[in-house]
Assembly symmetry: C2
Homo-oligomer: 295 residues x 2
């Protein structure tokens, strides 16, 4: 019907068909806005936006289905880090006009749709813009019970620091194929004594100082206890980044009970403690790239 936009309309129709809106979406793609179910009684809304761009976060040589999955998984990992439940997504696509780009994006959207269906996330809407490179911006919407959200700033001096999984070496493939710790984050949000949480996207060396700073604290990191991926040095585990594991601060009195009750196959490892703000950060001699002790 829209002559010039025929291919684009047909493309969007394929994406919409592959990714159903799900129960949280009351009015999905095709209208001026999306209408979505309000959070359950007693819960608040959760929003996150995240973008991946060709040449910055991926290249055309990366498998498009995994790149599409990753574009969604990054935002899902942020939901996991707050103990929140994602329910629907909007996707803004940047797309060069050539046929090869279109096929690449079709495959990326198939990968994103498959991951969305698996994680209980429906497609609420989106839009496409002609651009010089392929880009995918995801907006994720969901909910968390009021008072259950785990923020970065809730830790106290003496809290035990823990991480899920193993760190380092994600460039060998895990940066594309990682599993967001959605179930683990949701469980942690419901436990007593868990005070702060964030996901490790830029590496422990950058993200641990952020959690400590948000809580107004310093920290002690024990490099010998770091759960490293096979073949990784301590420096790689700290500084490689793109782990998408959870960093947790728990009350000392709760840490042992948490480990005992932990119902997942994912590892949960104590790696250090939070210190009073006046204490100098201790890293056991490991350099945290990008972190300046003196500023």
């Amino acid at each position: 019907m829209m002559g010039g936009a025929m291919n684009e309309d047909a493309r969007i129709a394929r994406w919409v068909k592959a990714w159903p809106p799900g129960p949280a979406v009351l009015c999905g793609p095709g209208d001026d806005c999306a209408l979505v179910a309000p959070p359950p009684r007693g819960a608040v809304g959760v929003l996150k936006t995240d973008a991946v761009l060709e040449g910055v976060h991926f290249t055309r040589r990366d498998p498009p289905r995994w790149v599409g999955r990753k574009a969604l998984a990054r935002a899902v990992s942020d939901f996991a880090a707050m103990g929140a439940v994602p329910s629907c997504a909007l996707v803004a696509c940047l797309l060069p006009g050539d046929a090869a780009s279109g096929r690449w994006m079709d495959a990326a959207m198939r990968g994103m749709a498959a991951a969305g269906r698996r994680w209980g996330i429906g497609l609420a809407g989106g839009e496409t813009t002609r651009g010089p490179r392929i880009g995918l911006t995801v907006m994720l919407h969901g909910w968390v019970e009021r008072g259950r959200a785990l923020r970065r700033g809730g830790a106290r001096a003496g809290d035990v620091l823990m991480v899920t999984g193993r760190l380092g070496g994600s460039i060998r493939g895990r940066h594309l194929r990682f599993e967001p710790r959605l179930a683990e984050g949701r469980w942690l949000g419901g436990q007593r004594g868990v005070r702060a949480m964030m996901d490790l996207s830029d590496g422990l060396g950058r993200d641990l100082p952020r959690l400590a700073a948000a809580s107004g604290l310093s920290f002690h990191l024990d490099p010998a206890r770091l759960p490293r991926d096979a073949g990784c040095t301590v420096e790689q585990a700290v500084n490689d980044g793109e782990d998408y594991e959870l960093l947790i601060a728990a009350a000392p009195s709760a840490a042992e009970a948490l480990r005992a009750a932990w119902p997942f196959r994912t590892r949960l490892t104590g790696i250090g403690r939070l210190l009073p703000p006046s204490a100098r950060a201790e890293t056991g001699g490991v350099t945290l790239v990008g972190y300046d002790h003196f500023s």
Copy 2:
């Protein structure tokens, strides 16, 4: 503190300072996700994403404050078209690394922040990505009473078509400086007999067939009645696009009462009618660019 990201952190801190989160944002920029107040009792959530990209939607010669305002106003216009209330925004920025781009984006964010404050929209979060051109993707969140949202597909044969404002010639400046019809759309959503609505972003010639198709109908357009901007031909009023006015379908029995009760200075003009699906679309000889009668 984060050496390499110092300039970027300082830049984001300036943006956040210029645009307060407002009452709808419970946890704003700086954590893994934003936490937002749920819709009022009886309302549902509303979401929209929209992107503007350098070289496609604007150039560096356009005043950055107005480009920033427009990036937000386009999504606000979609909220207006559903009779919805926007409450907060997330902004994903694509930003080349040079200083001139940074200054340009600072000004664009000041323009967006000023418009957001005026329209009751707080900043909930966002992110920046290095990219080859400047881009701004806005994600807007808000609410509308359940059952009050005006969709495109609600019109019936015989309904009267109306538009707000004047059409055509937006390239002379209105495409940047337009006023989203937020109050008008909100009012229309509360009136009896208003059955369908959308905003005119691609021009009446493309958007009217979309509203008719969403409602499963054909249409009659009376070109002589079109409210044209000064100096515009009928063809320009129909095909220029970027009007960001509202297109409304109202029950014939309600149209006169609507016009009588209309409380705004903005024009409200009858421009045609919706016809049964079997009827051939009538445009009084005007060509609707991009619309093919025979498909």
